[in-house]
């Protein structure tokens, strides 16, 4: 299994004791599979995404990506792992305003030892793919919200990650832009053969995913997805 999550728990300490956010979540996702995670605010969707993306550490449980449990890695190897295997798209695009579009896409390559011309070529390719080949030298401030998010998508894919995570990628976009970005994510995921996990409140976006999980009070549930066009090979564990 490309992504295997077992008994994942996350608590936050409070004055009145630990506050459970994730409760014994288990999940398995194959390479090439796309999953949408929905649920009410505070249900733990983003926390799950941060744990999968190794941006936060679980209280207990394990996450394995391509057989590697990243939380067993030292901090510096964990960063490398994230750099190489995980791509992020956030609701807020988090582009560096001081850098151009191309540079923003290239940001993750700064920490690697990739061939400069190769990564440039790929960045240009990705930007062409997301329809921004004419805006390479533009600054984020000169782009629309949808365009910025497309740059973020390109940036997330620069290292051909195994896992592409998107946290409310369309949350800040208008409906048309949201549709474009959602479709782009799915298309690129297919092309790159990544695991795509998207946290969203948008039923419209979730409907485009072959598999939808619902997060409720820290636990996962599977929803049937009649419009799913994806691969139905996922196995979902509900606890």
């Amino acid at each position: 299994m490309a992504l295997q999550v077992d008994h994942l728990c996350k608590d936050y300490p409070t004055r009145s004791g630990p506050l459970p956010i994730l409760r014994d979540v288990s999940l398995a996702v194959q390479r090439g599979e796309a999953v949408a995670v929905m649920g009410p605010s505070g249900s733990g969707k983003s926390t799950l995404l941060h744990l999968l993306g190794t941006l936060d550490r679980p209280t207990s449980g394990t996450v394995r990506l391509e057989g590697t449990d990243p939380f067993t890695l030292q901090e510096r190897f964990l960063a490398d792992f994230r750099n190489r295997h995980i791509g992020f798209v956030f609701q807020d695009h988090h582009l560096l305003p001081q850098c151009s579009v191309l540079e923003n896409v290239l940001i993750p390559t700064l920490v690697g030892r990739d061939d400069a011309s190769e990564v440039q070529k790929r960045a240009r390719h990705l930007l062409e793919r997301v329809g921004l080949s004419g805006r390479l030298d533009h600054r984020p401030a000169e782009l629309s919200g949808g365009e910025r998010q497309r740059v973020a998508v390109a940036r997330a894919l620069i290292h051909r990650p195994v896992l592409l995570l998107a946290d409310e990628p369309t949350g800040n976009l208008d409906r048309r832009s949201a549709r474009v970005v959602g479709q782009l994510l799915l298309d690129l995921h297919r092309e790159e053969n990544t695991i795509l996990i998207v946290v969203t409140h948008s039923q419209e976006l979730a409907d485009t995913f072959p598999r939808t999980l619902v997060m409720d009070d820290g636990s996962l549930q599977t929803l049937p997805n009649p419009t799913s066009a994806g691969v139905p090979a996922a196995s979902t564990t509900e606890r």
Binding site: H50, L55, R57, A79, I107, V111
Partner: protein
């Protein structure tokens, strides 16, 4: 895209935040480097001053005696130096008569007798204005300005008459007219301030020199010292200078005369052979030669005496050499060298001391039993007594009486003089009345008793008037009644034609009595010497040849330094001293501590604020796989670039800042003495060290900020969070702080409660200071505890009060951040208040013995030494006579007498304590040069007995010393015990209690002075104090008194001052109130405090700006919160109040805690009346801090509240 490019992009994009950090680094660098540059400026200015003052002179020989001017030519011809200039240097008081005939005087004038060798390219000396006009003098600008004289005016210079004979010896002349020489000069030229010679001075100090340049030959003539000088100025000396000097020094330079028979004949002929026919006619020798000499000339002369006959007489009767000194007494090193040289030359030596007995008397035992001395009529008046070894063979000894094989020290031999009025017989008790060989004021008579061992026939060695060195006024007189000695002399005791007069006619200065050398030296030996001559006899009788050999041997034996013939390396020493007594770099660095700390804190806070603003950016980088270390490197690289550029720019700003500080220092320095020479100097080393130091500490601060950024999860960073919110209960942090607070508070109370029972002042002060610090700790601990309380009180109320309370609550959101700024403000306020409390004004009313004034109302200093005792009747009469002379013609006789009687009454209530002074560097804080040879004061025995003054510490070992620490100065030991003023010893001499401080003695040999006591705030800041006895052992040739402490009722002070200024005008007196002197010292201390306060205040202001940044950061973090409140209907004004309440609370908390704790710490000082806190100034300073802090907060609020509402709300 590269990392470097990313760094540059970051720097440019976040330019506002980075600019703030950059400015912080600039300020820190400017302050740090500026402090170093102030040190450079002071050192550089002192160095410039030194070089300007010394001009071309590198070394100088300033001898305590006059020597041949020819020595300069001899050294010049030996090419010992590129430039050599002979000179006479004397201290003088300049006076000028004003149009109203009133006299204006100026003391501290250096008279330089020089010639064209000093002014090679100028028309010096200018010819006298006309026949009968006085010679011309050139004045430097300071002297002319202060004396208000111009070209063409006439001035008088009062200086000390040179005297070969020590003035404090029996034959020294001490009266005013014999000590003071008044020379008149026309002012031919006044040098302009920009003239390179104008500032010339051999002893650079801060005071502008007052110099009168007079023609050397004129000065020599006026001083009756033709061809003599006392100084040699040298430019660019060669390495052989000292050796060359040694080679060329003659016995004459030492003031030595070697008599041999031929020289005696030559001398007699030179004196008596007026017609220069090489024989003495009867009218030339009659009455002028002792009769016994004439009788001894074969055959007895009736007509002319030929040179041959006289020579034959001397070679047969007095065929010996005699080494004598123009000082009359041979200095001990010279006497020692002479005896060694005699031995080396194979000569037999007879050390000899002659003295004058006022009376040789006889005591009858019956009268002795009755307790009364022998009446005078039974004695012989004014007789020479010789102390020598009578057993020496001819021609050095005397014929011993039969039965006397060895003369004992308590025995005396009398000349067998048939007309002697003594009528003594062998075995009689014979006494000698004589004046003590050393004295201060009037000579004191003493008596010594001897047993008469026998009579010496007046023949051969016992009929030798040459045993007595020549002394003008006595030995050159044809009759005893004509004597004019400097001591009290009663010529009525000599009657014309009596036995004594006849003896004088026949034998002149031939001794009438002989005692052993040991006995004579015990009675009449003094610090000036113990021999009047060393007589030498050659075994083969060839005295002419022996004289030549002995002369050479003695020259080789004499050590130039024993005679003061030492070239002082003036320029080298002065340049070393120009490094300064106080390290101003370190001083200003410590003064600037809070300013630097505040700047760094500001840098840290700004860096942190920038990081906060860039949290999501950092989170994104982490999300994309940047390691934390990599991010840290990127951030540090940005910081390093900012620090580097900031340090570089700050270094430039530092030059401007240092210029301002230098101006400030010049403006606030008492007396304005610094403004004339203090100029900004920029040392490359300081720039480099300052820039590197600032870069280093700034970078360190940035590193700490970046590292302390913590291990915030990337997800939190992405959400804009830069701190991990404390959510769980954390009693641990609050608990230790609580205990610390309680412990500190209890400790403070205990110390306060104990303080009344602490006896020692210093311990008491420490107790209060400790309690203040504990209180400060308790205050800050309480703040910490308050901020960490788990159940804060509910904020209730509404309107401004309620919002204000909420603001105060917000101060506790980030306890560490708040405590840091609050603590910095508190610490700065603590120091500012504590230091300000030590600003002092002299307590004019404090005249108790244990006060800094020692109970003395006045002190006086003179240019020329005083030899009379102002406490004696004679000394006081001299003062009153001077007063009366001054009043002559101004008041009627009766009024003059009344005034004299009145002043006499004032003097009756006044007591003077006279100190000997060894001139040296002013070691007080008024001098910025490093004192290497501090001025030494010889404390009179009277003051040692009297005691007084306040001591910071002493080495008292006995109860007596504890009661009166001055007794410590009487201790004998390898090191001389000395006292010094505490500040002088610690800060200027860089020494301390119990340490040794070496000073050169008269011969230049380093002698350790052991610091056995530290005076507190005394009038003795300018030097070190040692007992007069020890002083004279170190400097036996130092004569007279130049420093006086005056005990008089305070209400009489002005009258005593007036009397002294009239009575001692010719000595260049300056009478000062002790309170004024103390005030001048305190003024410097207060200047340092002012500077510290100015920089500390600036630090406080900068600290309050830091608080503003903290606030800005807090507001930034809470921008969503504030937006929400706005959405809820809060007006911007209310929100502003919310933030300002938080800011104001922290400001007041810091200032209040610091100031209150400081007031506790300095309470004893304040209650003891030691300090006058300028409350208004302090309040104003704190007011400025408060305003700046609040303004910074207001800027933060305005900036934040201007932000659009919706985006800020979304943050929530």
């Amino acid at each position: 895209m590269t990392t470097f490019r990313l760094i540059l992009r970051n720097l440019l994009f976040h330019w506002r935040g980075n600019l703030a950090v950059f400015l912080g680094v600039v300020v820190g660098t400017a302050v740090l480097t500026g402090a170093l540059l102030v040190g450079d400026s002071l050192r550089g200015s002192l160095r410039d001053l030194t070089l300007r003052r010394l001009g071309w002179v590198d070394e100088a020989l300033i001898a305590p005696r006059f020597f041949r001017e020819g020595l300069a030519e001899e050294l010049q011809s030996s090419q010992s130096a590129e430039r050599l200039c002979p000179a006479i240097l004397l201290q003088a008081t300049a006076t000028v008569k004003g149009p109203d005939d009133a006299e204006r005087s100026l003391r501290g004038v250096t008279v330089m007798g020089v010639d064209r060798r000093f002014f090679p390219d100028r028309d010096f000396p200018a010819p006298a204005a006309g026949k009968g006009s006085p010679a011309s003098a050139w004045l430097n600008s300071t002297l002319a300005r202060e004396l208000k004289v111009y070209k063409g005016d006439r001035i008088a210079l009062r200086l000390q008459k040179p005297s070969d004979v020590p003035r404090e010896s029996l034959l020294g002349r001490r009266s005013s007219e014999e000590v003071v020489n008044e020379l008149t000069f026309d002012v031919a030229n006044v040098l302009t301030p920009d003239d390179p010679v104008d500032p010339f001075s051999l002893r650079p100090n801060l005071d502008a020199p007052r110099t009168a340049f007079v023609p050397l030959d004129v000065l020599q003539t006026k001083l009756n010292l033709p061809g003599k000088i006392n100084a040699l100025l040298v430019g660019k000396p060669t390495a052989t200078l000292a050796d060359d000097l040694n080679q060329h020094l003659q016995l004459e330079d030492w003031g030595l005369v070697l008599h041999d028979p031929e020289e005696r004949v030559r001398s007699l002929f030179a004196r008596l052979d007026t017609n220069r026919d090489d024989q003495l006619e009867p009218d030339e020798w009659r009455g002028k030669l002792p009769r016994n000499l004439l009788a001894a000339l074969p055959p007895a002369p009736t007509a002319a005496i030929s040179r041959t006959a006289l020579s034959a007489f001397y070679h047969s009767q007095r065929n010996y050499l005699s080494l004598e000194s123009t000082q009359l007494l041979l200095e001990q090193p010279v006497a020692d060298a002479a005896l060694v040289a005699a031995k080396d030359s194979g000569l037999r030596a007879a050390p000899t001391l002659v003295y004058l007995a006022n009376t040789i008397g006889k005591v009858s035992y019956a009268e002795c039993a009755a307790g009364g001395p022998t009446p005078l009529f039974q004695g012989i008046p004014y007789s020479i007594v010789a102390a020598l070894d009578p057993a020496q063979p001819s021609p050095l000894g005397v014929v011993r009486p039969a039965g006397v094989t060895q003369l004992r020290d308590d025995e005396i031999l009398l000349a067998d003089w048939k007309d002697s009025p003594l009528h003594a017989k062998v075995g009689d008790d014979v006494f000698l009345r004589y004046f003590e060989p050393e004295h201060h004021g009037e000579p004191r008579e003493a008596v010594a008793h001897f047993r008469l061992a026998g009579f010496v026939p007046l023949a051969g060695g016992a009929a030798d008037p040459d045993l007595t060195p020549a002394f003008p006024g006595v030995t050159d007189k044809l009759s005893m009644t004509d004597w004019n000695p400097p001591f009290p002399y009663d010529n009525s005791r000599i009657r014309s034609g009596d036995a004594n007069e006849k003896y004088w006619e026949a034998y002149r200065t031939t001794p009438k009595a002989y005692v052993t050398l040991a006995a004579g030296q015990r009675l009449w030996g003094s610090r000036f010497g113990k021999l009047t001559s060393v007589r030498l006899a050659a075994a083969n009788g060839n005295t002419t040849k022996a004289a030549g050999e002995f002369r050479q041997t003695l020259r080789a034996q004499l050590k130039p330094q024993d005679g003061g013939f030492v070239f002082q390396k003036l320029k080298t020493d002065a340049l070393a001293a120009s490094a300064g007594g106080t390290d101003f770099s370190m001083l200003f660095l410590s003064f600037s501590f809070f300013l630097i700390a505040a700047a760094l804190l500001l840098v840290g806070l700004l860096v942190r604020l920038n990081l906060d603003r860039r949290a999501s950016e950092i989170g994104l980088l982490m999300a994309t796989g940047f390691r934390r270390s990599r991010i840290v490197v990127v951030l540090l690289a940005e910081g390093a670039i900012l620090a580097a550029v900031g340090a570089a720019v700050g270094t430039v700003v530092a030059v401007l800042y240092a210029g301002l500080l230098v101006r400030f220092l010049g403006a606030v320095w008492p007396g304005g003495t610094l403004t004339s020479f203090l100029q900004p100097h920029v040392g490359v080393a300081s720039l480099v060290y300052g820039a590197l130091g600032s870069f280093g500490v700034s970078l360190l601060t940035i590193v700490l900020c970046v590292l302390l950024f913590g291990r915030v999860a990337p997800s939190a960073l992405l959400a804009g969070q830069t701190t991990t919110e404390r959510v769980g209960p954390s009693r641990r942090g609050g608990s230790w702080a609580l205990w610390l607070t309680i412990g500190s508070a209890v400790g403070a109370v205990i110390l306060l409660a104990c303080s009344p029972y602490v006896a020692d002042d210093e311990m008491k002060a420490s107790t209060f200071f400790g309690s203040g610090l504990l209180l400060l700790t308790a205050c800050l601990g309480a703040v910490w505890v308050w901020m960490h309380r788990t159940r804060p009180g509910t904020v209730v109320g509404h309107g401004w009060w309620g919002v204000g309370r909420l603001g105060v609550r917000n101060a506790a959101r980030h306890p560490l951040r708040s405590l840091l700024t609050c603590g910095l403000l508190a610490a700065a306020a603590f120091l500012v208040v504590a230091v300000e409390a030590f600003r002092r004004e002299p307590a004019t009313a404090e005249t108790t013995r244990t006060s800094p004034s020692g109970g003395f109302v006045l002190l006086a200093e003179t240019d020329l030494p005083l030899f009379q005792d102002l406490n004696s009747d004679q000394g006081r009469a001299d003062l009153l006579n001077q007063l009366e002379t001054r009043l002559l013609g101004k008041l009627a006789f009766a009024d003059r007498e009344a005034q004299r009687a009145d002043m006499s009454g004032v003097l009756g209530q006044t007591h003077f304590y006279a100190f000997r002074v060894r001139a040296g560097d002013d070691a007080s804080c008024l001098n910025l040069f490093q004192p290497t040879r501090p001025r030494l004061l010889g404390v009179p025995a009277g003051l040692l007995d009297r005691g007084g003054f306040r001591f910071a510490s002493t080495d008292a070992g006995t109860p007596e010393e504890g009661d009166n620490p001055w007794q410590i100065l009487r201790r004998d030991g390898a090191a001389v015990p000395v006292f010094g003023e505490q500040n002088t010893v610690v800060w200027m001499l860089h020494s301390g209690q119990g340490k040794d401080f070496p000073v050169p003695d008269e011969a230049g040999t380093p002698r350790p002075l052991h610091i056995d006591g530290l005076l507190q705030d005394s009038v003795f800041q300018s030097g070190l104090l040692l007992s007069e006895d020890h002083f004279l052992r170190l400097y036996p040739n130092q004569e007279g008194y130049n420093f006086f402490l005056i005990e008089t009722p305070p209400e009489q002070a002005d009258r005593v001052k007036e009397l002294l200024e009239i009575g001692l005008a010719d000595r260049g007196v300056e009478v000062t109130r002790t309170s004024d002197r103390l005030a001048s010292y305190l003024a410097v201390e207060n200047t340092y405090l002012t500077t510290f306060q100015a920089l500390g205040g600036l630090g406080l202001v900068l600290g309050s700006l830091g608080l503003g940044v903290v606030l800005l950061r807090g507001v930034w973090e809470r921008r969503g919160e504030l937006a929400l409140l706005r959405a809820l209907g809060f007006r911007r004004l209310k929100l502003g109040w919310l933030v300002l309440a938080e800011n104001g609370f922290l400001l007041l908390l810091g200032l209040g805690a610091g100031a209150a704790s400081a007031l506790v710490a300095v309470a004893p000082h304040l209650f003891g009346g030691g300090g006058q806190v300028p409350w208004l100034q302090l309040l104003a300073l704190f007011g400025v801090v408060l305003v700046v802090g609040l303004a910074a907060g207001a800027v933060a609020v305005i900036g934040t509240l201007r932000a659009p509402l919706i985006p800020a709300l979304r943050r929530e």
